[in-house]
């Protein structure tokens, strides 16, 4: 059959690449014959040839002696794809389309195999295929593709580099664990691959960050889907540990990525993953020396970096949609009617199942709350630069009163109060203007006598302390801004933590605060 003929041709290729060097003239002659003799001169021929070769490679992996060279055919097919990608002077399509075509064939064979094999599906050959593609690209792209003799081709490849990684990211997004659970562990290993993740983090103009965030959100969504209050499957626990290690690697190598993308990651991170949350929010800019947060004499007013606006990669204002106008109008001139519009928009019409600590469903739109609060934080930073600190570090400012009134309003449910305070405390990170201002907000919310009644004050204080405790009773790392807040509360003459009934009621908690 035609397929068997393709098998024969591919087998010759596998033998050849084991016998001669990468740039041996025979390699080029073989590929030229492939094209001249019509094996891959048409798109259909190319698709069928690649499909047959890949099926044969996967088959040979499954049949190989596990202690032997199990990947020879897989290694050979990637070498062929890379050679065709470089050498092919295609009339019908561009190099980019060729790569998409080749990877689409891989997708077809992969999804077919995953579907058919069910629990006996073996992810390793497909992992190796993508891993090799990344490695071969690395070898090829060294020193601006210096190995490529043809000047035009070399120039085209240099321009294509960014797109190459985003195409890989797109295909990885397609085969994410929620869609292909049988490929989950290989997938996590691929998105953190040494020839992928560090490059996506450092592509020029952060051009890999959007795709990378999508992939990390795919990972978080997958974990969240199976993180249930009652039980966590062992495999998901293993996935989580791998994810935690990957985030630690990112935090070490490129903390700026976590600093500028924390907003989107928080939108999807399960609220119970407190340590992972602290790893993400605890990222500190590489060059920054941060003062000791336990220093009793520390004052953010005297810290220069507390005047700086933190960078953000994706502006939350994009998520405000119809709310942008009412929020911005309120920040200009506060009014109750605007407040009511804003509060009404924060409730969802169907509840969202979200395992939190002490709750399982959300009636409020936690993403929208996060967008509003971060938008206010950004506006504060701008105002602070434009006018002065006194314009924003002022409980009469519209920025503070928006947050205060969102919490104080009678239509605000306890859940909404919790989510608002929860999200404000998320902004307490490394020394920057947002950490400084939200610290100011929390302290004033805590001691304010403007609450509509005494009970509400206690309620708010309890919510604040609860959110702080959640973040600091977990194993390290702890966020710099939260430690500073705790120290501020402990030092404040207006606050006597041990006098509050909701603390005295629970001996462990009372004891904890006594320790502090």
């Amino acid at each position: 059959t035609q397929t068997e003929k393709y098998y024969l041709v591919f087998t010759e290729w596998v033998k050849l690449v084991q016998k001669v060097d990468d740039n041996d003239p025979m390699i080029l002659a073989f590929i030229k014959q492939l094209i001249d003799k019509g094996v891959i001169s048409s798109t259909d021929g190319l698709i069928e040839f690649l499909r047959a070769s890949l099926e044969l490679s996967v088959f040979s992996f499954k049949e190989s002696d596990p202690t032997g060279e199990v990947f020879t055919s897989i290694d050979a097919i990637i070498k062929l794809i890379i050679k065709l990608f470089i050498m092919g002077e295609y009339k019908e399509y561009s190099r980019k389309q060729f790569l998409n075509l080749a990877l689409s064939v891989v997708m077809m064979v992969f999804s077919d195999d995953h579907e058919k094999e069910e629990n006996t599906f073996n992810e390793r050959p497909y992992f190796r295929l993508f891993s090799n593609l990344l490695c071969e690209w690395q070898i090829l792209s060294g020193h601006q593709f210096i190995k490529v003799k043809n000047v035009d081709t070399r120039k085209e490849l240099i321009e294509f580099e960014e797109e190459f990684y985003n195409i890989i990211a797109k295909f990885l997004h397609t085969i994410q664990p929620i869609a292909f659970p049988g490929f989950s562990f290989a997938w996590i290993t691929l998105i953190s691959h040494r020839m992928f993740l560090p490059i996506m983090l450092r592509l020029e103009n952060k051009s890999g960050w959007k795709s990378l965030t999508n992939l990390l959100i795919d990972l978080i969504k997958f974990m969240e889907q199976y993180t249930d209050k009652n039980s966590i499957p062992d495999a998901i626990s293993v996935v989580y540990k791998g994810a935690l290690r990957v985030f630690l690697g990112i935090s070490n190598d490129v903390p700026e990525y976590l600093i500028e993308n924390h907003y989107e990651l928080m939108n999807y991170l399960p609220p119970t993953y407190l340590q992972l949350k602290n790893v993400i929010l605890g990222a500190i800019p590489k060059k920054m020396m941060i003062p000791n947060p336990y220093d009793p004499d520390l004052s953010m007013e005297n810290i220069e970096s507390c005047q700086q606006q933190p960078n953000i990669f994706y502006n939350p204002v994009n998520d405000l949609k119809t709310l942008k106008k009412p929020v911005d109008n309120y920040l200009r001139i506060p009014s109750n009617s605007l407040l009511r519009i804003i509060i009404a928009s924060l409730f969802k019409d169907v509840y969202e199942r979200k395992n939190g600590i002490g709750y399982e469903h959300l009636m409020v739109d936690s993403k929208l709350i996060r967008a509003i609060i971060l938008h206010v934080g950004i506006e504060v930073g701008i105002e602070n630069e434009r006018t002065s600190s006194s314009a924003v570090f002022n409980t009469k400012s519209s920025y503070y009163s928006l947050l205060f009134n969102l919490i104080n309003n009678d239509t605000t449910t306890i859940e909404l109060k919790y989510q608002i305070i929860h999200t404000i405390i998320e902004q307490l990170r490394y020394p920057n203007i947002q950490t400084y201002w939200f610290n100011f907000v929390i302290i004033n919310l805590f001691v304010s006598d403007e609450w509509s009644d005494g009970n509400k004050k206690q309620e708010i204080q309890e919510l604040i302390l609860r959110n702080i405790l959640e973040r600091i009773i977990v194993n390290k790392p702890h966020c710099w801004g939260i430690i500073v807040l705790v120290m501020s509360l402990l030092k404040s003459s207006e606050v006597d933590l041990l006098s509050y009934s909701f603390i005295k009621e629970i001996p462990e908690v009372e004891n904890m605060f006594q320790q502090m």
């Binding site: 490695c135 690395q138 060294g142 020193h143 210096i146 996590i188 290993t189 953190s192 691959h193 040494r194 020839m195 993740l197 560090p198 983090l201 993180t227 209050k229 009652n230 039980s231 966590i232 626990s237 293993v238 989580y240 540990k241 791998g242 994810a243 935690l244 290690r245 990957v246 630690l248 690697g249 990112i250 070490n252 190598d253 490129v254 119970t272 993953y273 407190l274 340590q275 992972l276 602290n278 590489k286 600590i357 009773i473 977990v474 194993n475 390290k476 790392p477």
Partner: protein, 171 residues
């Protein structure tokens, strides 16, 4: 609840995880993702080749290992034996460890023995007597205690050790 895996909520002490990532090394911050073997320590059982580039000036050096072909090969026993005899110890160790199961491993073994090195079958390292000190043979004649120079392939250097050498452990 009791069954939940608390390492997801209150987390775990990260020092061992950080250690498995090679953090913190000295106070400088090292990039770790460029040589990231795998998301899990358990599946990171070997080093992985990082991104690197071979300048063209490095790829066409002639006479490497006294060989007139580039890249070098050892395919002629008589010739090879003469060449091997000219190499310094470290070069012999390099060829021995880097090219297992080949003719050159055998040739370097023979040459190192000629130079009074002996391969320890259990330690899988080469050792030779410390010329400064005569070992003391045990009464039963199966072993001796003395000072020896070992070649450590992990640290790639020779180091002197007091040692009890059992004669059946070396070849």
């Amino acid at each position: 609840s009791s069954t939940i895996d608390h390492s997801l909520t209150i987390g775990a002490d990260l020092s061992s995880m950080l250690h498995s990532l090679g953090l913190p090394r000295d106070n400088k911050r090292h990039r770790i993702l460029d040589t990231f073997q795998s998301p899990w320590a358990e599946t990171s059982r070997s080093e992985v080749q990082p991104r690197f580039f071979i300048p063209s000036s490095f790829s066409n050096i002639s006479n490497v290992l006294q060989c007139n072909t580039t890249p070098p090969t050892f395919n002629n026993i008589e010739l090879d034996q003469q060449r091997v005899a000219l190499f310094q110890d470290e070069t012999l160790f390099y060829l021995f460890y880097k090219h297992p199961g080949t003719v050159i491993q055998e040739l370097t073994y023979l040459e190192l023995r000629k130079r009074n090195w002996r391969f320890h079958k259990i330690l899988k390292t080469w050792l030779t007597k410390d010329p400064m000190m005569e070992p003391i043979v045990a009464a039963d004649g199966f072993s001796e205690r003395g000072s020896y120079v070992f070649f450590d392939p992990q640290r790639w250097e020779k180091c002197q050790r007091e040692f009890i050498l059992f004669y059946n452990a070396i070849m």
